[in-house]
Amino acid sequence: MADDVRSIAVEGMARVEGEGSLHVSVRDGAVADVSLDIFEPPRFFEALLRGRHFTEAPDITARICGICPVAYQTSACTALEAACGVTVDSRIQALRRLLYCGEWIQSHALHIYLLHAPDFLGCADAVELAERDRAGVARGLAIKRTGNELMTVVGGRSIHPVNVRVGGFWQAPTREAVAALAGPLDQARQDALATVAWVAGFDFPDVESDYRFVALHTGDCYPVESGRVVSRGLLDATAEEFSYRVVEEHVARSTALHARIDGELTYLTGPLARYALNSRLLPEVARRAAAEAGLEEVCRNPFRSIVVRAVELVFACDEALRLVEGYEPPDPPAAACSAPDTGSVGAGASEAPRGLLLHRYELDGRGMITTARIVPPTSQNQRAIEEDLRRVVTSSLSLDDPELTLRCEQAVRNHDPCISCAAHFLDLTVEER
């Protein structure tokens, strides 16, 4: 009987980074199947890293994603520094965190204003939104520009920064150049506070999910560039230990590699997870903004992730400002790194804007990469996103098709999936398209 079959299909999802599609089918009033498919061709990064010298990995892996290159560079650097047995000094670590804040600022502003907010306001895109609220969109673009400026000062440019190397940086930016960021960052922090107030007023579907959150945790500050991998009651691990716990399963029916803990537990990384495990470590200004926006210490409504992202935007601006004020140029700008001639292994994890990013490398005695493993946020979140879709469709069956389609797309965009990242590790659609 196929008389009550409803299917929602979005081929070529818009306003996500990369190319993906989603399919939902509803049979006799119940959700029969959901899938978020990736149809980006894989680029085989793990294969092409083999036989490269370890110093080349940050620049090569940056090219996995133009939206979060610093995440790739940072996870690669920390993994390879671990392989070399090097710990960078506090100045280098602070500069790395500052650069990473720039990436959070530009990426979160991009997602909130250009990719996600139009969903809540019934617009096709930010251009249409600007017709109604030009000042609002201009504010978002101004925040984004400040993030890019910060990345340019520290990294040389905002897309695929050139100043990062294993061990630190090629050159420390001057005190003057860094100090000049204070004004724009102060403005961006104010604009970020306005962003929290703005998005808190959106209408949110009443959906909650019982996520298993996984995020970095440091105990003394909100996690960005480093930390232990933590999940309440389940996990408190180094990046290396985590790499053994996270298992990627090659599911033939599906198009994707699904990452699960111990091969069976679905989990979520990203803003909701970071916030749930670290909200107490946010600076006062961000905690106050969160409270005023009605957020508690944990948020389980995926649609409200836009509010959490906005709170993280306040944090990133505030943290960048703090780092700018305390800036001491590292000298030398990089720690010397060389690979042990016995061969070595190193893993590193950092918080990309959209979630945990794990790198692990094995090096031979000449410093050449023999094995590379990269676990990006989207492949970790893929299963949780599909579960969200199932829940959202179940609670939204009264909507007509265009509305339900939009709701589904929104449910995917809640997690800011970066399909460009995921695709390099995910399988392709088997069906010929």
Partner: protein, 277 residues
């Protein structure tokens, strides 16, 4: 912020489409990164297809198609022909689209090796054994180099093509920009392996200004002498493996770089000796 009005452009305005093939999204992100110009640009042209920005997509024909990424699947090889058919002008943006990108390294490996190395079940993949630039498949009206492209150059290319004039882009080398900037030459002063002499200008000699040698992300300049540079660097004590790998990154597939790296490394798909200077 600019003050240009942003009312929905009427259909008479030129239509621009942005297409993605195998890539990292970085080059099209350059467009969204034009914060000061984005709303003004959206007022002057109609983004008829730009999925990273909008849910709305209208069919062709398009006045200008910007293409990011390389061709790596049979489906994409067919799709680019269709895009050409629908577009008055096609301009490729970035190293992936103009040279095959970092994913083009598979072109130097044995067929099927990469898929087998990453996927437990390579039989489910429908990828080609090569990653090829768009110009291997269709005639293009312009190419913009860089990994990523430069934002200012991208705006120049869009403006020029819509006005029907040639964009003003330099074919000279990073060295030229480096000298104009007055940076101390890393190659001369320290014997560092710098690709500036053979790399296309456009970035303003960014890396040397940060005390880093150019690694060629803008691809080969017009008429580069890669062999002469390689000879000199080998003479300075750099290893052939190191130099070969240096040429084999984002623009590995660009003719002069591909020839240069093959001359240094030989046909051996292993990436040469471990020396890295």
């Amino acid at each position: 912020m600019t003050t240009t009005a942003t009312s929905r452009p009427e259909p008479g305005r030129p239509s621009v489409a942005v297409w993605k093939f195998a890539s990292c999204d970085g080059c099209q992100l350059s467009l969204l990164d034009c914060e000061d110009e984005l709303l003004a640009l959206a007022g002057r042209v109609r983004f008829a297809h730009f999925p990273e920005m909008s849910r709305t997509s209208t069919g062709g024909p398009y006045d200008l198609s910007l293409v990011e990424g390389s061709v790596t699947t049979p489906a994409d090889a067919a799709r680019i022909l269709e895009i050409r058919r629908l577009s008055r002008r096609v301009v490729t943006i970035g190293a992936c689209a103009t040279a095959g990108g970092i994913q083009g390294l598979r072109n130097f490996a044995a067929a099927g090796e990469y898929a087998a190395a990453v996927y437990a079940r390579p039989e489910y993949l429908s990828t080609l054994d090569t990653s090829t630039p768009i110009s291997d498949h269709i005639e293009v009206d312009g190419e913009l180099h860089g990994c990523p492209v430069d934002r200012g150059q991208l705006l120049e290319v869009i403006t020029a093509h819509l006005a029907g004039r040639r964009p003003v882009l330099s074919g000279s080398s990073v060295c030229q920009e480096c000298k104009a900037r007055g940076t101390v030459c890393l190659l001369v002063a320290r014997g560092t392996a710098c690709l500036g002499p053979v790399t296309r200008a456009g970035c303003g000699a960014l890396c040397p200004s940060l005390d880093r040698a150019c690694f060629g992300c803008f691809g080969p300049s017009d008429a580069p002498n890669v062999a002469a540079l390689a000879d000199r660097l080998v003479g300075d004590g750099h290893g052939r493996g190191e130099l070969g790998r240096l040429l084999r990154t984002f623009n590995a597939g660009a003719g002069p770089f591909a020839a240069g790296s093959t001359a240094l490394l030989g046909p051996d798909p292993e990436m040469g000796s471990p020396d890295h200077g």
